[in-house]
Amino acid sequence: MTDKKEATLDLRGVMCPINFVKTKLKLEMMEAGEVLEVVLDSGDPIQNVPKSIKEEGHKIIEVKKEGDYFRIRVQKG
């Protein structure tokens, strides 16, 4: 997996719950343990998407705030 570039989903401007559904669909195509980077707007998206990801059994391993958006790394559970 080390030679593979980490997948990224830029979900800036994407509304709830479409942003979560897109994240979920992407994660479903990945193997357990693989990491997906997701970019989310502040406000509703960052309030809702991380908790939904957690509820689905995935792990958020890193959160970085960059201006008015967030870059989070999700490990598939």
Binding site: S42, G43, Q47, P50, K51, E55, I60, V63, K65, F70
Partner: protein, 314 residues
């Protein structure tokens, strides 16, 4: 089974096998959940569906009965989550009740007594849910349904502060809460909790990103706990905010918060004792909110102190 139906194509006639005329006590009707309609001989039969939840198997059977007895073939979802069969001829009451009983479906009530409790989905399947509102509604229905009170007594259970079950408008309402607690070692300073908190009760430290918590602003919804990626925010305890004296109707009143973090186990005691106070202090036809206004909140709180304990609101 003492009676059955004879179909004569135009209308159904109730026949008693012993030969005496069918008797319907109209005084019992309202307490039994039979509500008179505008139309001659037509009544609405209100079913008892605590928390608005029904097993699909039972719903199928109810549908058949409703289809058979509703002269217009319609049901209505009541404002308190129960199913009402419309256009039922009062002469068929005994028959419809017998058929409902056979499938284990009880009829609801109206009038001055404890009503069927309402509830949201609760923690079983709603992501925001903090308490087992459905379990609580079932408990109240089993233990207290139909208990006589000076006027109607409506209870409801909301699983979180969004309060879909409108506990602020109930005679006695219970709303789920969780007390969040933060453990520094597992916190990475990611600031998601301060973003997730809709009440501005959490602000992230400008340097470390770690949370600065203002308990005065917290409404105990648990958004921080659910959002935290590292479980640094944890639930310390769950419970109910207890509200009393709310009502809607012609002269709506907002309920008063009387207790915080009441445990599940103490909910039956709280209801038991509140009914006791209401029956001792309320006048006939007076809602509990008005009784409290007249007698004084202090009187009620003093009476409830053994149940509410430390959670009591001064």
């Amino acid at each position: 089974m003492t009676d059955h139906f004879i179909e004569d194509k135009t209308h159904k006639v109730v026949v008693n096998l012993e030969g005496s005329a069918e008797k319907v006590d109209f005084n019992d009707l309202k307490s039994g959940g039979f509500i008179k309609q505008r139309q001659k001989d037509m009544f609405t039969v209100r079913l008892r569906c605590p928390g608005g939840r029904l097993a699909t198997e039972k719903l199928l059977e109810i549908s058949k009965i409703a289809h058979k007895y509703s002269k217009k073939g319609v049901v209505h979802f009541s404002f308190r989550q129960s199913l009402e069969i419309l256009y039922v001829d009062y002469k068929e009451f005994n028959a419809i009740v017998a058929e409902l009983e056979k499938i284990g479906q009880k009829v609801a009530s109206c009038g001055p007594r404890v009503r069927v409790p309402t509830a949201c989905g609760g923690c079983e399947y709603n992501p925001n849910g903090l308490t087992d509102t459905q379990g609580m509604a079932r408990m109240v229905d089993e233990k207290f349904f139909g208990t006589p009170t000076p006027h109607k007594f409506k209870t409801s259970f909301s699983g979180c502060p969004i309060d879909c079950a409108r506990t602020k408008e109930m005679d006695f309402g219970f709303q789920g809460v969780v007390d969040p607690t933060w453990e520094e070692p597992s916190c990475t300073g990611c600031t998601i909790c301060s973003e997730a908190c809709k009440e501005d009760a959490i602000v992230s430290d400008a340097d470390t990103g770690k949370p600065i918590f203002d308990p005065m602003k917290c409404i105990y919804c648990g958004d921080c706990i659910r959002a935290c990626p590292t479980e640094a925010w944890k639930p310390k305890r769950y419970g109910h905010i207890v509200r009393i004296g709310g009502k809607h109707g012609r002269h709506p009143m907002e309920a008063i918060e009387v207790c915080n973090f009441l445990s599940d186990e103490k909910v039956p005691d709280a209801i038991q004792k509140t009914i006791e106070w209401y029956n001792a202090n309320g006048k006939r036809g007076e809602r509990i909110g008005n009784a409290i206004k007249r007698v004084g909140l202090k009187n009620y709180l003093d009476f409830m102190r053994p149940v509410f304990g430390d959670g009591i609101k001064a």
